[in-house]
């Protein structure tokens, strides 16, 4: 069956199957957009927790770290209840659209980006704090400088977030509904084909997904290495 699966994966790719292409494109759009939004929110949040001392800070760090392990299906359920017509945000009409999937994945990825960026920024702060104060930087001014200085480590954090987003199925299944041509992504397709007993096809799709993620990681690594050499 394994041989069969590789053959299936290859033939899917070579035939440039139109529906596969659509599914892959949607998967990438959803996960990449989710990671982007989560980064715009999560990196400043992580940096803020690293920089400022406030009551309950320790608790917040524990919560952020713990939420890294939030089960995707639980996140999906929570977002479903929010977006359902019977729920508080039902008016938005987002349920069973890619928008809902992005939202659910933001919920999943945000804690990872915030918790890991907090840790990295805190390390850097140990090194830089005195000099920053000496230069006359306010705490809020430190934030963009620290985030930019940590950019190589944060790239890895981004990849971790993307890995989580592109790999999960529980959340997108719940809030997206796996609607053909609308909210069907790679992972939900794999579940569907497995449910139909089409195991070689499911595995083939899995291989396509893995290859995609591998390519993205390789690209990010190259970008990281090239720029790192320039900056020491």
């Amino acid at each position: 069956m394994e041989n069969n699966a590789f053959y299936v994966a290859l033939s899917l790719l070579l035939n440039l199957d139109a529906s596969l292409f659509q599914i892959v494109a949607l998967s990438l759009q959803v996960s990449l957009l989710a990671v982007l939004i989560a980064a715009l929110l999560g990196f400043p949040l992580g940096a803020a927790v690293a920089i400022w001392r406030f009551p309950g800070r320790g608790g917040m760090i524990v919560v952020l770290n713990a939420l890294m392990g939030l089960p995707p299906v639980v996140a999906g359920l929570m977002v479903y209840l929010l977006l359902s017509r019977a729920g508080p945000l039902g008016e938005w009409g987002l349920l069973f659209t890619p928008g809902a999937m992005i939202l659910a994945q933001v919920v999943l990825v945000l804690p990872i980006l915030a918790a890991l960026s907090r840790q990295k920024v805190e390390e850097l702060l140990g090194e830089y704090r005195e000099q920053f104060v000496s230069l006359g930087m306010s705490s809020s001014r430190m934030m963009p400088t620290l985030l930019w200085d940590a950019r190589f480590a944060l790239l890895t954090v981004l990849l971790a977030g993307f890995g989580r987003a592109s790999a999960e199925v529980g959340a997108v299944m719940m809030v997206g509904g796996n609607i053909e041509g609308v909210t069907r992504v790679m992972t939900t397709s794999i579940v569907l084909e497995t449910g139909k007993g089409n195991l070689p096809l499911a595995l083939g799709l899995g291989i396509v997904l893995l290859t995609l993620v591998m390519l993205i990681n390789a690209g990010a690594y190259l970008v990281g290495e090239l720029t790192r050499r320039r900056v020491g």
Partner: protein
């Protein structure tokens, strides 16, 4: 610590040098008295070299002066109403993960210098401190001496009225030491008040205007340089100059 606007032509500091006054200052950490009680006033043009054996509290004194730390007891005040513009250079230069010139531009940006002026000012500072060749080199890849000069160039751009230096040359080779000392002299000639710690007697002899000698967390002597080296008063100072270990 307020951020300040750099005047257009800040080549010379025209106002009189600020005076730093320590009034019965103590600094404790976990119930242990690390510094104090100290009382002294830094007047005149300096440069003031803060000397003493390891653990005497020199770095602490500097950090307290620069408001990086707050005293447990006592007052630290400046003459005049406003806190003067200050900068500090640390023993290990702290530079960002960017090029040398980008580090300088960052310091200017932080201090609200208009964007269009930043590049020129940064390049001028690099030239002054002999770093033009390393302009685009990643700052963290530079040699120890070059990094320290870059830190000084950064301090230069802030037009400080006071410059604190915490053993800036202790990790450098003789050629680099010479270059850094020359840079410190540039500041002094511009009118910046220098307050620098060192454990190197010869460096102190080269640079000092007056000496503040610490040992065991207390100020033992505060005298002009010639007086200190020719006729030290305290027992600890005498032992230190003689090269004997002092606690």
């Amino acid at each position: 610590m307020t951020s300040f606007h750099i005047p257009r032509f800040a080549s010379f500091i025209l106002s009189p040098p600020p005076e730093l006054c320590f009034d019965d200052v103590t600094f404790n950490h976990e119930d242990k008295v690390l510094l104090g009680p100290c009382s002294f006033t830094l007047k005149g043009t300096g440069p003031t070299l803060v000397m003493g054996p390891n653990g005497a509290g020199k770095s602490l004194l500097l950090r307290l002066s620069h408001r990086l730390l707050l005293p447990t007891q006592g007052q630290i005040t400046w003459s005049g109403e406003l806190c003067p513009r200050q900068a500090m250079v640390f023993q290990q230069p702290v530079l960002l993960r960017r090029s040398a010139v980008a580090n300088l531009i960052h310091a200017l940006a932080v201090n609200n210098v208009p964007r269009r002026k930043r590049v020129k000012l940064a390049h001028d500072a690099l030239e002054r401190f002999g770093l033009t060749a390393c302009c685009y080199t990643p700052a963290r890849v530079l040699s120890g001496g070059e990094q320290q000069r870059l830190a000084l160039a950064r301090a230069w751009l802030l037009s400080p009225q006071i410059l604190f230096l915490d053993e800036p040359t202790s990790a450098l080779d003789p050629a680099a030491i010479k270059a850094v000392e020359a840079a410190v002299q540039e500041f002094h000639q511009r009118g910046t008040r220098i307050v620098m710690t060192t454990h190197d007697l010869h460096q102190a002899k080269r640079l000092a205007g007056d000496i503040l000698f610490l040992s065991g967390g207390k100020v033992r002597e505060h005298t002009p340089a010639e007086v200190f080296f020719d006729k030290p008063v305290s027992r600890e100072a005498k032992a230190f100059i003689a090269g004997e270990l002092v606690e």
